[in-house]
Amino acid sequence: MSPSEQSVVWVRDILLATFPDNPTDKTIERLQEAVLDAMTGRQPTGVILDLSGVETVDSFFARMIAETAQMIDLMGAETIVVGIRPPVAMTAAELGYDLGDVRKARNTDHALDLLGVSNVERDV
């Protein structure tokens, strides 16, 4: 995904926001806006922030994630952050980033499980 690309899509009642691999500050701000815009017309039960493509999380990015999760919480939905890569986890821990009470999951499937979205295919 190119740095300017971002995506916010619905998966049933879940909003899935995917961060590009090397976002500018503006891209991160735009993605936050896109999530909030999407929630204007329709209320999700949960919002998944997918960081699996992200290689670096600095203090600005970390603060934006925490802030976005707080806004989502104020609107009554739950945020789950997925796909934090090992180097990102390492620097985030070393820097003492506080993502607040945001839940984390290994990947999107795990997050959907946590949000109670069952996999129809699997039940067959």
Binding site: N22, T24, E55, T56, D58, E94, L95
Partner: protein, 134 residues
Amino acid sequence: MTTETGTLAIDSEDDILVARQRAREIAEELGFRRTDVTRIVTAVSELSRNIYLYAGEGEMRWRALERHGQPGLELQFVDEGPGIENVEAVLAGEHSTSEGMGRGVTGTKQLVDEIEIDTELGEGTTVTIIKWAT
């Protein structure tokens, strides 16, 4: 691109991204392992953003180092901005606000082996960091 030494202008928000990409290329080329590359890139992100936010423009300079056969990387972030008033407090993490200069510098200190801040009010700031490969 030269890995050994070079300069990159930072005068827009997008240059923070360019600085990160350049630093990643250099660090990978020098043979840093992946976690150290991420540490370097994260530090570069913080310090180049500080230039953009507080000085408006400046530059990143890099220089490949060697010590006992191990590669190292020195990065300098140079601006002619307002300077930092209380450097000791910033380095000690006492000057940390949620958005301020402090947070970026305090964090950077955790990620690199050496950090030095040379600043004069009204004249500018040079932050020098060094990371050695392990």
